[in-house]
Amino acid sequence: MARVVIFGSLRAFTGGEGEMEIEAATTRELLKKLAARHPALAETIEAGVSLAIDGEVFKEAWFTPIGPEAEVVVMPLMVGG
Amino acid sequence: MSKIHVNATVNGDAVEFLCEPDEVLLDVLRDRLNLTGAKEGCGTGDCGACSVTLNGRLVASCLVLGAEVEGSAIETVEGIGTADALHPLQRHLLDHAALQCGICTPGIIVAAKALLAENPDPSEEEVRFWLAGNLCRCTGYDKIIRAVLSAAAEMRGDSA
């Protein structure tokens, strides 16, 4: 199962829970399960999040595969530049 | 108020135009003579993007009235070099990658050409002070200064 790290201020929407294990093959599946587990986070996920999978940052990308031992860091969507 | 009738030469060609009494040379060049090489970056003489020469003197064309140029010789970037035979300044700016967006480039070329006409062997400091009226936001000036110095060397016949 992937280790999911909810980063920083997003923890306000998970009741303070910062790390959890989620069984998911893709980012889309992971985000769906995350939103179901933490409904307060659903709005943020809907608006968009960035994900770091084993250190590489992805913007959404629903079908990015997630390995069984992966570390996935969920961050607010990075926009601008 | 009626328009003013003006005769002048631009890049060696005789031109004749009507302009408003308060219309600046930059607008005359761009809107009436279809010479859009000179750019308006500020309209207040601070950026140098509209640089042209008027009877050989470097001016900000946004601060000169069209009505003032009766009988004058104006040179713009369009009169400097051709695609087949670029002026050394144009060539060295390209070779040194001394332009990024290119909006300041026409003004830099006109201003630098006026400098080299007056001082064929300027120091780095002299080039920097002469071009202090030509703002460039992309390059940090480094490559522009190098290009002007190497163009000057070539024009003097130094092996640069």
Binding site: S9, F58, A61, P76 | E78, L86, Q100, G102, R128, K143
Partner: protein, 737 residues
């Protein structure tokens, strides 16, 4: 990863260069068409006011006026972010800052348009205003928009506070307890403008048949199309947007300010409308970057190890909700491998023009505050500032302060290059100080489309959808040539309009060379596959027995050596007989952009009589992954460094008590000029990005990040006193002396 390059690393002349040195290049304001009208915009003189009424009748009656519009001419839109953009382009109900558009006119000439503006009568009822970030955050501040307060915020901050973010790990307090020295400081930085030399300009033509044409200077014409189509309630397909040559953007042209206004005027007048901003309008009404108020606390052990770090960043982003402090909070400590770190940020609205991105948006000010405190700790503990940074530097495997664990990065390499550079050991003159700072930017990927055609004469045309702001047509042609195995000058790349190639995200986040580059390499692969197939058909062998090597199809396997290689030009020449035109295209959304670190060294001389700071020597080290066109990479580093120098020393939005901008011109808002500067020596470090086939990282933004602290740290060491606010103008330095 590819290592041996034939085209990458060379310095060909840019394809757009000839037009730019001869005055032929067409920028936003350079296009005119038959029947065109000229537009002007009327702007609010108040920082905050209710628009009680606007009487346009006299303006409409003026001979030569063809259309007048106000906020009432714009229908509401569903997307709230688009609504903010629309209301920033034209106020509805309230003017929210000095310079906010309230009406616009299209007329037969610039002169008539200007006369008509003077005839528009607006009745304002001034409202309380706020322009300072700390005042705007206070619970009793006048609130710009109700109902947009960040949902994770309490009553201790006002409704202007639209977002709160926090990043980090460990517990800073534990870290401070382990420290031998702890320093906490408060910093302020001014809002600065991108300062592109070309003011916003566009030419709009929206016909009665509902079809629109828009020519404009922008960093993203697909984004312009999306916003304008939503505001004008058009189908995206009916609005074709063409990006002109762009006279600088630096983030400032990633949104719209005038395009919806010009389109609406054109629709109303039934004629094409040209709208060009004046420099004053650019300063008053286009986005500067955020101003900031920041607290940074860092603890350090005697040996230089950073034990704990905490930053609180309060950014002011103007008159509408926005989201940008997050990137500052993520960048603040990115250069360090820390056990106990936290960075918090608040986005705050004020009665100022709405902020828009400026090169590495959000990062320079946060890093300035952090790098200043690190430098002060080094001074206090008598430690070498580069040694301390090397000791604490983030490297491959470090858990970054913003979450991800870093892959291969080049910070240590940049720091060590700085340490070994002659600049670092050169003697210093009197009144001179040497400043050091790190800098960081994420770099983005994002959506991209590329279409490549192999012409029958063996040349290649490539269409991409991202405006070229830094020489990307050259670098993309280089990558196409490299991938195809042909000469650079056989490829011509153009930026297509929104009707000629698929969607592409805005040119931002230093993403173009990375993302368009990947799409180009993939498009070339598709074309190569087709060319190998054609060769196989001609040779009457299996497609699998053909490989593409150095620009030609080669028979391999049991046919190897029996057939002479068939070049791209040869295959292209017969393409009409072998199945028709050969092309390749790619659409995608590449990620894994790879972060970029920089380290800057500067020597500053401060005149004790006048407080004037002169930059005497400047060296900038940056990891760029792989420099495709090294001269353009150098140019990015030099240009970014000088923008940062301007931020450090001169540039500043100055507001009076009345909430009006006091310096909307290049005379009073002073960007660096040639005589202010020495040569800027760029040192390119190449630690390949594992996420790109050629190792490329974005390189355009990182260089604006280090100069703020580097210059400030140099000043501190030159005068023996430290300033905690930017810009460090001569009066402020004299005061510190």
């Amino acid at each position: 990863m590819k290592q041996d390059f034939k085209v990458l690393g060379t310095r060909p002349i840019r394809p757009d260069g000839l037009d730019k040195v001869t005055g032929k290049a067409m920028f936003g304001a350079d296009k005119s068409v038959t029947g065109m009208l000229h537009a002007r915009v009327l702007r609010s003189p108040h920082a905050h006011a209710e628009i009680v009424s606007i009487d346009t009748s006299k303006a409409e009656a003026l001979a030569g006026v063809k259309a007048v519009i106000t906020g009432d001419d714009f229908e509401d839109v569903d997307n709230r972010w688009t609504r903010y953009t629309m209301q920033n382009c034209m106020a509805q109900g309230r003017a929210l800052y000095d310079g906010h558009a309230v009406a616009a006119v299209a007329a037969v000439s610039k002169k008539v348009a200007a006369e008509a503006l003077a005839l528009i009568e607006v009745t304002y009822k001034p409202l309380p205003h706020v322009t300072d970030v700390d005042e705007a955050m206070a619970p009793d501040a006048p609130v710009l928009h109700e109902g947009v307060k960040g949902r994770n915020l309490g009553d201790d901050v006002s409704g202007n506070t639209v977002g709160y973010y926090s990043f980090g790990h460990g517990d800073p307090e534990t870290g401070f307890a382990e420290a031998d020295e702890v320093i906490e400081r408060t910093f302020k930085t001014a809002a600065v403008h991108q300062g592109y030399i070309e003011p916003q300009a566009c030419l709009a033509d929206l016909g009665a048949d509902g079809r629109g044409e828009l020519w404009c200077c922008t960093q993203g014409h697909y984004e312009v199309r999306r916003i304008c189509a939503e505001i004008l309630h058009m189908d995206a397909s009916q609005l074709r947007v063409t990006a002109s040559e762009i006279g600088g953007g630096f983030g400032g042209k990633t949104t719209v300010f005038i395009e919806p206004v010009a389109l609406k005027l054109s629709q109303k007048a039934g004629r094409p409308v040209k709208l060009v901003m004046s420099r004053e309008e650019v300063f008053r009404a286009t986005g500067p970057t955020m101003s900031a108020s920041m607290d940074v606390k860092i603890g350090m052990a005697k040996d230089g190890r950073i034990t704990g770090a905490h930053a609180r960043l309060r950014y002011q982003g103007g008159a509408f909700p926005y989201q940008m402090v997050m990137l500052g909070a993520m960048s603040a400590f990115a250069a360090y491998d820390l056990e106990h770190v936290q960075a918090e940020g608040w986005d705050v609205m004020t009665n100022r023009p709405k902020m828009i991105s400026y090169r590495a948006p959000g990062a320079p000010m946060a890093v300035y505050a952090v790098e200043s405190v690190v430098d002060e700790l080094c001074q206090k503990l008598g430690l070498d500032p580069l040694d301390v940074r090397i000791m604490n530097a983030a490297r491959e495997g470090s858990k970054s302060s913003y979450g991800p664990t870093f892959k291969a990065i080049g910070l240590v390499e940049a720091l060590e290059a700085a340490k070994a550079h002659p600049h670092y050991s050169a003697p210093l003159a009197p009144n001179t100080g040497r400043g050091v700072s790190c800098g960081f930017w994420f770099n983005f990927g994002g959506q991209v489309s590329v279409s490549m055609a192999i012409n029958a004469d063996g040349t290649v045309n490539l269409i991409e959808g991202n405006p070229d702001i830094g020489g990307s047509r050259a670098s993309i042609s280089m990558m196409a040539a490299e991938a195809l195995g042909i000469e650079f000058d056989r490829v011509r790349t153009i930026v297509g309009d929104t009707a000629s190639v698929g969607f592409s995200d805005v040119t931002d986040g230093s993403r173009v060379t990375f993302a368009v580059g990947i799409a180009t390499i993939n498009a070339a692969k598709a074309a190569i596959k087709e060319m190998c197939k054609r060769a196989a058909m001609i040779w009457e062998i299996d497609e699998e027995s053909v490989e593409w090597i150095d620009g030609a199809a080669h028979a391999v396997g049991h046919n190897a050596g029996t057939l002479p290689p068939m070049t791209l030009a040869e295959i292209a020449a017969t393409s009409g007989k072998t199945g028709g035109p050969i092309a390749g295209h790619h659409e995608g959304a590449p990620d894994k952009a790879g972060v970029s670190f920089g380290v800057h060294l500067v020597d500053v001389e401060v005149d004790p009589e006048t407080g004037f700071t002169a930059i005497k020597r400047y060296t900038a080290f940056q990891d760029v992954g792989k420099a495709i066109h090294p001269a353009y990479v150098e140019g990015q580093i030099q240009g970014g460094a000088v923008q940062g120098i301007g931020w450090a020393l001169n540039e500043e939005y100055i507001y009076g008590e009345d909430g009006r901008l006091q310096n909307p011109g290049f005379l009073d808002y002073r960007i660096p000029v040639a005589s202010d500067l020495p040569m800027i020596e760029p040192v390119i470090i190449e630690v390949p990005n594992p996420g790109h086939p050629y190792g490329v990282r974005g390189c355009g933004e990182t260089a604006i990040v280090p100069p703020l602290a580097a210059v400030s740290n140099g000043v501190a060491r030159a005068i023996g006193a430290r300033l905690y606010a930017l810009p460090m103008s001569p009066p402020k330095i004299l005061k510190a002396l």
